[in-house]
Symmetry: C2
Subunit: 338 residues, 2 copies
């Protein structure tokens, strides 16, 4: 933790900022060990402090590695900062406008991604938690016995969550997607009260000790579905193979997109190729068209190309890659389930 705070203090110094305000729950947790349940203002400065809500004080005192004070009001907080001589404030890009306006008259303000920058590079401990989350999720998927399951999409989704929890997950890492037939052309489909039709697309993940996993598999049954599946699988495999430290994230998106375009489905690949994950299911950087971030050792990023044919069906295949000298897929669930 101190390591992260020191890095941020160095970043602040370089940019001539005196303090950095964090309110995103997972950022506060990453820095302090305490995950707010209501609201909190964590201020990184020479003497870092968290202003926690009254209802969170017991929890914050238990878990935070940095000093905790009860939040009273914006005025009190701002006064205390000013008394310390703080004149400018870095904020997270996600800070709501309503909080920003509370600070803008008293401080020079700009947004910075200092914590995101730290969170991009996972420690060995974080990679182990993501790996364990992935193993729980993949084991549960196999136990689900999807091919012999007679439930509705909603029941199958619920069963998968039950298995993940029985296998040690805290909970699902996002709303589990079990979709089938024409509905699978919606990338974020909601499981319905209807029996599975074909193809079946499942996008699921577990949380283990705060860390997320993310995988997608699509089970196809017709020649047409297989044709699309093969293209997506080629994009998936070649993108993963291309991952290495030193190149830009957008280059991986391009690898996947070029393959799908070559086959004539470029306009049916309607999202980016992947996103980082960790304490949050979506973190930066991502394998997307505009992400110029250079890939580094320690990043953990998904690869999830897809082709979505409205009125017909969709296919997506997703694995999570831990980046070391070369990209290592986390987990060992085959792409081809049937």
């Amino acid at each position: 933790m101190d390591f992260h705070i020191n890095n941020i203090l160095n970043d602040l110094k370089k940019d001539n900022f005196q303090a950095y305000l964090l309110t995103q729950f997972t950022n506060v947790e990453y820095i302090s060990g305490y995950r707010p349940t209501s609201f909190a203002f964590c201020i990184i400065k020479e003497n870092p402090i968290i202003y926690a809500s009254q209802m969170d004080m017991e929890l914050a005192n238990q878990n935070s590695s940095i000093e905790v004070k009860k939040y009273e009001s914006y005025e009190v907080m701002i006064d205390e900062l000013k008394k310390e001589g703080i004149k400018n404030l870095a904020i997270e890009p996600s800070l709501p406008f309503s909080s920003y306006v509370q600070f803008r008259d008293d401080f020079e303000i700009d947004s910075k991604t200092y914590v995101d920058k730290q969170r991009m590079i996972k420690t060995q401990d974080e990679i182990e938690k993501i790996t364990k989350a992935t193993e729980i999720a993949q084991k549960s998927f196999l136990q689900l016995d999807i091919l012999n399951n007679n439930g509705s999409e909603k029941e199958v989704a619920f069963d998968l969550v039950r298995l993940m929890i029985e296998n040690g997950a805290a909970k699902e890492s996002f709303d589990t997607i079990v979709t089938s037939g024409p509905d699978s052309s919606l990338p974020h489909a909601i499981p319905q009260n209807k029996k599975l039709s074909q193809p079946v697309l499942i996008d699921w993940g577990a949380i283990y000790r705060g860390y997320c996993s993310d995988n997608t598999r699509t089970m196809v049954y017709t020649e047409r579905q297989q044709e699309i599946w093969d293209i997506v699988a080629e994009a998936h495999d070649k993108a993963i193979k291309a991952i290495k430290p030193g190149i830009k994230c957008l280059e991986i998106d391009t690898v996947a997109r070029d393959i799908i375009e070559e086959y004539g489905y470029g306009d049916k690949f309607i999202h980016s190729t992947g996103h980082s994950l960790g304490l949050d299911i979506h973190e930066t950087p991502g394998f997307s068209l505009r992400d110029e971030t250079v890939i580094e050792d320690g990043m953990v990023i998904t690869v999830e190309p897809g082709i979505y044919l409205e009125g017909e069906f969709g296919v997506r295949l997703e694995d999570t890659v831990s980046i070391s000298k070369k990209g290592n897929v986390i987990g060992d669930l085959p792409l081809d389930i049937i």
Copy 2:
């Protein structure tokens, strides 16, 4: 839907704004019927429009009652607004700073709560959905047979969610809280892998057709626990009885807080007395110390006083009140379960 848009256009006119930008998913859904799964910019103006993400286009076209365009970039969106002569823009207070900075050079900006204002007053249809969600949640709670349940907190929580889904819920309306013994002094406790101890506090809700329910019950077993329970129950009952249109929200908080203070536990009631709910589990207004909103027919607000004794236990009792001539509690689950 048109009704809401017209109201907002009137509010805009009164405040001399030309357009209102919405990005909160439930606000976009409330106005258009389409709930984004990725991101969206919904702009209320003479000709309202939604710029949806490419991956949401199929869903948005299916569900939105207002025009949908594919989002290309901030530049394209801003150019189109400027071509229409739009010079100022109302935004939601929750808009992230990173979006705000995209617009601030081209438009005069201030935040407004026009949609929240509409959402405060529920239609008959919305109240029916909240009522149904509450009935599902309460029926499931009774089926859970908590007094004879031998599971861990985590298992009981999972069972309750299973029952809610079996009874017709889409899912839980927030992370179900099942906590017991000393852990119950944390208002937002996370269910643990341990057998239930005493007292047992359960805070749970269902989502039915997009609408949330919210209840809390605490099962107490010792004289000391009963003493605290009785105080919380008195605060709960008298606060509910005091609710009527025309008075301010903070007056209801005061009723509950005064009772708990009289018994000497004022500093142990560490949150506000209640919050509105609907498409979101937390909406405005709330029964809190600083909320001057005047209570009106059609509001739906929880009443949930609590006393939290660190190291000992906590007690909270929560019901949801539909405000008509007098406050009507939604659902019929007794406060006193054992």
